[in-house]
Each structure stands twice: as structure tokens, then as C-alpha cells.
Subunit: 149 residues, 2 copies
């Protein structure tokens, strides 16, 4: 089983989420990896609509609805009607959201290091390169491909 990339993909994701949760909770915060990604992308691209934000981090449009709901409910972002397109809603990170991102950053960084702590520095760098390359090569194969700005 452990020689199948698909099985290891699931396992690595499982570990990544657990480590993220553990570090972020230990630092006193309550934020999922998905919520962190969404807020980070929103800070870099203020004013986008939900579909565009989803494309920036390869989320499914449907999933993004729920994520945005929960973040808005906690006051970490705002959702206002788009000035010209009446279908869309414009998203903006709030001061509370940006502040939370700043304060949680050290925990997130620690989590990223722990995930690859089984590898030495050279291996970790090579692993990251190959993982990025594999993901980019298959970008179009998921329902929600990455769509840069």
C-alpha cells in the first residue's frame, strides 16, 4: 500500500492537517488550513469575488461558499455587493482578519517545518521541488485547478 502515491498523498495530507491544527491550537488560535489559505490569498488580492478567490488557491467554488460564510461570521472578512456585477460579492479582509494572520504566522511556519521533519534539509528542498512539479503537471486534472490572477 505504501508504494502507491495516492495512498501516500492521503496520508501526507492527513498528517499536514493534524500538525497544522496542533501548532495553531497550541499557539491559542482556532483556524483551519483552508481558512488560513483563504485569508492569506484574500489579503494579497483584496476585492475579488468568491470564484476568483477559489481559483487563486484551487478551492472548489461550492466549498468556498461555506468557508467564506464561517470567516464572515467571525468577522475576519466582509462580503459586500459588487459595484458593477450584481451576481458577484466583493470580499475584503478585515483588520481583525489581517491581525489574526500576522499573529498566527509563527505557528504556521513551525507546522510547515514539522511536516517534513523526517527529511534532512537537502531532502526537504528536493521533496518540495518534486511535489510542486508533480502538482503543476496535473493542475488541470482536478475540478478546481489553480487559476493565478
Amino acid at each position: 500500500m505504501s508504494d502507491k502515491p495516492g495512498f501516500l498523498a492521503r496520508r501526507f495530507q492527513q498528517i499536514a492537517v493534524a500538525v497544522f491544527h496542533a501548532e495553531v491550537a497550541a499557539a491559542g488560535f482556532d483556524l483551519t488550513p483552508v481558512q488560513y489559505s483563504a485569508l492569506t490569498a484574500l489579503r494579497a488580492h483584496p476585492g475579488v469575488d468568491q470564484a476568483t478567490l477559489a481559483g487563486l488557491i484551487a478551492f472548489d467554488r461550492t466549498t468556498m461558499g461555506g468557508v467564506v460564510d464561517r470567516l464572515a461570521q467571525r468577522g475576519l472578512l466582509t462580503r459586500k455587493p459588487h459595484p458593477t456585477d450584481r451576481r458577484a460579492r466583493t470580499l475584503e479582509i478585515t483588520a481583525a482578519g489581517a491581525d489574526l494572520l500576522d499573529r498566527v504566522e509563527p505557528a504556521v511556519q513551525r507546522a510547515q517545518e514539522i511536516m517534513v521533519s523526517g527529511l534532512d534539509a537537502a531532502e526537504a528542498a528536493e521533496f518540495l521541488r518534486l511535489l510542486r512539479k508533480a502538482v503543476e503537471g496535473c493542475n488541470a486534472l482536478s475540478r478546481a485547478p489553480l487559476t493565478p490572477a
Copy 2:
């Protein structure tokens, strides 16, 4: 964002599941990656209980309940009372389950290759080695660590 192992982990898992689904569906079957793993492990270890099966493939005990329910409902495995431990249920793969595994195997193999099609053969081998090493190094960090027989 693409330099964070956590983000790439989620993305690679997302792609892996999509590719698995696409190949398996194209071959005319209806089986999720998780169901495939469970059936495969059960065939290799007939008669185990749910908790043991979960440990063999690093599933959460709670998740395994639902997976087993759906597989039993489709007649791919059976769930009988354990002969000595009245808490446990003994799981067995059925002939239909084993037959399905055999017939779906080529599609699963194709999916595994597609997932790493962005890498050449040497890179894919090294990627698999590093991924396996990273996962093993962090095995204890998830709620559901891998527990070999």
C-alpha cells in the same frame, strides 16, 4: 503559497482523488480511493475487526464505521459478530468484493501513474521515496497513525 508543504499536500491529495475517480469511473466502476484501500487491506488481513482494519491503513475509527457500512450495503464485505470478543465485529471480504478489486486494478494502476506524470521516471522514484520517508517520520502525529499487523 506554493512553497508551503501543507498547501501542496492538500493540492496533491485533491489531484490524486480526482484522477482516481476519473480512471475508475472511465473503467466502469464506482469505488472511492478510501473504499479501495479498505477492501485491499481487508483481503490481505481477513477476519480483522474495524479498529484493526483502520490501523492497517491509517483511517480514523469513526470514519471506518461509515466506510464499512457502505461497503457492506453493496455486498462487498460482511460484518459478523466476533467469536470471542462481544464488542467487536469480524470483517470478511466477499467474492464480489475480491472480484471487484481484481477488475478495478488496472484503472487504479493507471491512476497512480497519472498522478506523477509531471515527473520523469527518476524523479518519480525519488519523489516516492521522499514522500514515504516524510510520512513515516510523522506517523505518530495524526490521530490515526498507521498500525501494522
